[in-house]
Subunit: 236 residues, 2 copies
DNA sequence: CAGAATAATATGTCTAGACATAATCCGAGT
DNA sequence: ACTCGGATTATGTCTAGACATATTATTCTG
């Protein structure tokens, strides 16, 4: 089961990547120092240069290596730590805990957003947007409040009442996008949030703020406010 | 400057990756559907199969594609959203805002940790660990409190008084590690946190909880509690 | 000696072919 | 029908060589 025999020539690009990463973490190759060239590594691993190249490119993409033509490959100064957070659809997130998924639409209206949301959606003053307030439940316990503003001109939106399917799910399923911003923070629960989450006003809650866009055009922005105690986890 | 002439055969793996990504985002290839095989794509792009392979592997790593031997390649159902959070050294994080970095050691002692930290460090009952409480400042404003527990047997630890350099920085610089866990959440500021951050007890604060290990052995675990209003940002 | 032209070098990428491996498909036998 | 195996197939990976490209190092020149 265990890798009892660490053969010097385990030439697969993933094995080479792991070995190089090990040498970086073990300080065998110090931060900032130049590591052997691809040709040298290929010789020492007993494989083709392309195989080494594939491994080093992977580590460079992960931020562990800095590579420059002719300059060689060096270990990144500040081995930038990256945590890969997976942001699942809320339904999947809840079902993954084993609880039954529940959904309740709290409000759906066309309204002029507050300045904060207006800025996030990059729309002119007094432009009405579609606002949807909804609650996601794990079993019978409130899990997260979704406060979303949507560009009312999105195709198919009029056929989406959001009384059964959450905007979170509907948008992912129907609206293509190219990117966006996301941020995480803490705030004191508002009156609306506290009521929906069955907690007290001012309770410390975790929130995700997110804007999704297609090119330059903002499609939707959302505040997800989780019930107290919620944590986002990952490994690094 | 701009790519005015989008030639049908711009065969570089990055160009192919971009083109495939475009077809996915434009719903030309719908979520869940199987896309052409590597051989077919290679023919249509007029390049070698390896080139297509490299492009598709990149998209698969990004979570946009699901690939299975013999099963073919299909567009991911729920384009698993991944946010890559960069977790910088606190000093760099503060200096990036333009503020001067400040550091104050609040406490340094050998003590038996509370059950919660004991569990995180995976040590037996009544094992004393090194506890360091420190404050990081942006200019003259408190930025984040670092409450850390360290394996007292780490080499070189006795020469690290932590009165000038934070454990955060010292550990990254001196102790190799292989992985760990990290989680993000919100909680109400404790008395100690409130005093250090110059805020009120019970204020909603953002916290990072992190354990770093070398193989199976836990090296250190830390609670980082940020001043109210702090947000972690990234793009997707 | 400064600056420009030139050589050297490490990475970036493509290719064409080969074999490995995991899944699926499908037919044979019970 | 149902199960077991083999044939098929798409991806996974390696290779050896070639040329491209960016950058550094060196040499030539005014």
């Amino acid at each position: 089961m265990t890798q009892t025999a660490p053969r010097p020539t385990a030439s697969s690009w993933q094995a080479i990547r792991d070995e190089v990463r090990r040498r970086i973490h073990s300080r065998e190759w110090a931060p900032g120092s130049v590591i052997p060239t691809e040709v040298e590594l290929a010789a020492s691993f007993g494989c083709a240069r392309m195989t080494v190249n594939r491994a080093l490119q992977d580590l460079a993409a992960a931020g562990l290596l800095d590579r420059r033509r002719k300059g060689g490959t060096r270990v990144a100064l500040h081995p930038v730590e990256q945590a890969r957070l997976e942001i699942p659809v809320i339904r999947a997130e809840i079902e993954a805990t084993g609880a039954a998924y529940g959904y309740r639409l709290l409000e759906r209206r066309l309204a002029v957003p507050l300045p904060e949301f207006q800025a996030r959606m990059q729309v002119p003053d007094r432009t009405p947007l579609l606002n949807v307030l909804a609650l996601h439940l794990a079993g019978d316990r409130p899990y997260v409040v979704e406060d979303r503003w949507i560009d009312p001109d999105l195709p198919g939106l009029s056929e989406a009442p959001f009384d059964e399917t959450s905007p979170n799910e509907w948008l992912l399923e129907h609206i293509p996008y190219t990117g966006g911003e996301i941020s995480f923070g803490a705030h004191a629960a508002s009156v609306i949030e506290a009521r929906a989450l069955q907690t007290s006003v001012g309770a410390a809650v975790f929130g995700i703020r997110r804007t999704t866009r297609d090119g330059e055009h903002a499609l939707t922005t959302v505040d997800l406010t989780y019930a107290p105690g919620h944590r986002m986890r990952t490994t690094l």
